[in-house]
């Protein structure tokens, strides 16, 4: 009997002990998970505050946060594989774990402003160009990880962006560059992110052509120049809708300036 009692007690203690240990382990892992989510959400808040400071000016700022892992998707970023944040602005970034991120806001325009885009620059990487291209706050080095070339197109195992006139060659595909910001976008963003953000900018441009067309129709001054502007806007918009991004806005700019010279309301 005594032996049985002792054995029973032992079993009871072991079972109870294991249950308590399991409970604590469960709690600890859940708590660690929660804290990591909180940390990721905090980093996301810091990114927002930083961008709020940059707002709609062309400026840059460094993010003062220790190592964190960034995964870039179309329209959102995931921080430390824990917290996904939708970004309602156009951005260019690349996957990786970084100690040093710089946020740079730049205007994209084609006669009129299309948008302000955000470059999330990984400054642990080295960048190089065969002409004066990168601003001072970018880590430029001849022993580069990312190269932007205007005069040639080296063939090596590094990330190389070749710019040929108005065409950006990235990963074997060619993209029409309607603003320098897109070349920076190709340098700082990974391929999928670049394609996604590029398409968003194109969509924005189409919307803006629509808006300016409607604005132009809103003027009732009966000027001939307005109908020339409408024709040009429609032509340019249709070109882009049909996939031909090589659109020249210089004629539109000229007509817009003409409006100002004739003391009429400008379009943009």
């Amino acid at each position: 009997m005594k032996k049985a009692e002792v054995q029973f007690n032992l079993i009871f203690v072991i079972v109870a002990g294991v249950m308590i240990l399991a409970f604590f382990l469960f709690f600890t892992t859940k708590y660690i998970d929660l804290k990591e989510k909180q940390e990721a959400a905090k980093i996301s808040g810091q990114i927002d505050n930083l961008l709020l400071g940059l707002k709609f000016n062309t400026q840059y700022k460094e993010l003062d946060v220790p190592n964190f892992n960034l995964n870039v998707n179309c329209g959102n970023i995931t921080i430390n594989n824990r917290f996904t944040k939708d970004l309602d602005y156009v951005f260019f970034a690349t996957n990786g774990t970084s100690k040093k991120l710089t946020f740079w806001v730049k205007e994209v325009e084609k006669g009129f402003r299309i948008d302000n885009v955000v470059f999330i620059i990984d400054n642990t990487k080295k960048y190089y160009s065969d002409r004066e291209f990168f601003p001072d706050f970018v880590n430029v080095n001849e022993d580069y990880d990312v190269g932007v070339f205007f005069n040639s197109c080296p063939n090596n195992n590094k990330k190389v962006i070749c710019v040929d006139g108005n065409n950006i060659n990235y990963n074997g595909e060619s993209f029409y560059s309607f603003d320098d910001a897109l070349i920076y976008g190709a340098a700082f963003g990974n391929f999928d992110n670049f394609k996604c953000s590029y398409e968003k900018l194109v969509d924005k441009l189409i919307i803006l052509y629509d808006i300016y067309l409607k604005k132009n129709e809103g003027f009732n001054d009966g000027q001939e120049i307005r109908s020339q502007i409408s024709t040009l806007l429609s032509e340019n918009k249709n070109k882009i809708v049909n996939g031909n991004y090589d659109v020249d806005n210089s004629q539109l700019d000229l007509l817009n300036t003409k409006l100002s010279n004739y003391e009429l309301e400008v379009l943009y």
Binding site: R113, L208, I211, E265
Partner: protein, 145 residues
Amino acid sequence: MNKKAQIGIQETILVIFVFFIVLMIGMIFFFQLNMKSIQNDIDQYNEFRFKQLIDIVPNMAELRYSKLGVEDVYCIDLLKARAFSEISSEYDFGKKEIKLISGDEIVLYSKIGRGEIRKVTSPVCVYDPRNGKFYLGELDIGWWA
């Protein structure tokens, strides 16, 4: 003697058992509190993003006034605003209603939600290109949280 010792051991086991129950209740409570705190942070963040729209909307390229490509005046272009209201279904600001009130009322964006609506308003400058004049208007943003 033996029985006394056994009772003693059982008492100890019971005390430890009760202690751990209390500890577990405390930990569950602490955990729930932390979750609530995080949810509060997320709610506060969403609230701020909603209020931030009074700054974001007037600065959008689709709405902002410019002259020969220069945006040196912080105003909404009335004709652009009317045009934007016709195509804003392509945008997603969430379940919100954004109105520009300047003489007329222009619904810039509308995606109606359910339940209580929260509102913020902000004064804005409105430019009417038809007469070249600047007016004071109001930006009215409603949110179904």
